[in-house]
């Protein structure tokens, strides 16, 4: 079994119009910049994939990564918890103009919905958002004297993620706090595409150290010395 994909272009070739795409990362930590820009480049050349729903904690910063997708005009809707950043102009302008949709999800609910999607749990109850506008229209139930809101699982057609080390079977490790949503998204997408700083032979990652088991991963592409979104932004604004 070899999940190695030779190029970024081939890795994102199967992503088509109208798909939902989970993108790993919290702010710049864990953002798969090279995979995102392979997608943006394809859209600019061919007009596809258009009308993408992006699932991420945030909604882009500056003009790289998810913000570049929004500026390119390929994002129809964001599902996120915090669409603000040091430079949120890409999303804010389009949102206030009514040109991009927003589903605002509390951060822990977003994580758990994605986990549930990957774990085959169609709905669950959480105390988060009870009694707030975010819970409008959602079923509420009382357990042991406390109120909880029912939330649905969240799945996607594709996840694009950044890992530190992958083996050819798709086992992954991450770097520091760049892990965040990625292990959950890897489970919840029909197709999980990963860029890794290095790809090794099976057996070269200690099984005790594997964070995402290869069963959740479909394609891996090696991107040595990947760009880091926050570092790019700081370069830009210098």
């Amino acid at each position: 079994m070899n999940k190695i994909c030779p190029s970024l272009e081939e890795a994102v070739a199967g992503i088509s119009d109208g798909m939902s795409v989970m993108i790993g990362g919290f702010g710049g930590a864990g953002a798969p910049i090279e995979l995102i820009h392979a997608l943006v480049d394809r859209y600019k050349k061919t007009g596809s994939p258009a009308n993408i729903t992006v699932i991420n904690n945030n909604a882009g910063n500056g003009a790289v990564g998810i913000a570049a997708m929004i500026y390119a005009g390929m994002v129809a809707k964001m599902v996120c918890s915090f669409p603000r950043s040091s430079d949120p102009k890409a999303f804010t302008d389009r949102y206030l103009a009514g040109e991009i949709g927003l589903e605002l999800v509390p951060q822990g609910t977003l994580a758990e919905r994605i986990r549930a999607g990957g774990a085959g749990i169609p709905a669950f109850y959480t105390p988060s958002s009870y009694g707030t506008d975010v819970a409008d229209g959602k079923p509420v139930e009382e357990f042991d004297g406390k109120h909880y809101v029912r939330e649905r699982w969240l799945k996607a057609d594709v996840a694009i993620l950044k890992a530190e080390t992958a083996d050819s079977k798709g086992n992954l490790t991450y770097r520091k706090a760049a892990r965040n949503f990625s292990p959950l998204m890897a489970m919840a997408a029909t197709t999980t595409i990963v860029q890794a700083s290095r790809i090794v032979e099976p057996g070269q990652i200690d099984p005790e150290q594997v964070i995402t088991p290869g069963i959740f991963v479909n394609q891996i592409v090696e991107v040595p010395n990947p760009a880091q979104e926050e570092a790019l932004l700081r370069e830009e604004t210098k």
Partner: protein, 223 residues
Amino acid sequence: MSAKLTNAQIAWRAAQDLPDGAYVNLGIGFPEMIAKFKPEGREVTYHTENGILDFGEAPPAGSEDWDLINAGKKAVTLNPGASFFHHADSFAMVRGGHLDVAVLGAYEIAENGDLANWSTGPGSVPAVGGAMDLVHGAKQVWVVTDHVTKKGQPKLVERCSLPLTGVGCVTRIYTSLAVIDVVDKHFVLRDKLPGMSLEELQAVTGAKLHIDGDIADLNVPEV
């Protein structure tokens, strides 16, 4: 009105109440200042939503690692014994009752413990982050805030007028004028600035301040 505490002084006062051995989440912005004033000899472990337990101070400028950040996307360092985990585990710590204290900022707090701190209403981009999760599950939910708005309106009110973050969730409030507990849907005054009368404090508070035992002087050093 008499003098009031600075944000740093409010943070200092809240820090004095951090329990030894506590697991604590400090909200982004103002609450983060509390870490600077942790009393000597007390061990506190900080949690951040994006998957770190036991992070430390910011690194020196120029040596940041942008894969090592807190929920406010600021660079941090690790203390010995730190750990990484994914977002579902991180919020299991939050909702599962494993944190001892969560500290947040506020637009409004109602006497029944309702908190409004995420939306100022229509016309802006709504952003909630982890606040709606943090207010549920932590054993104590503290708020640090100015006592009144920039326009001088009370932030402590009978009922919140802004969109709620959580219902009946706040347990203690540290303001620029006082320390107040929420007990059985009432504000109970614990500390107040010594130069301020109860009547003066009540006049800038939008709901009744109840008295239960002694009121301590809110004495805070220059920090």
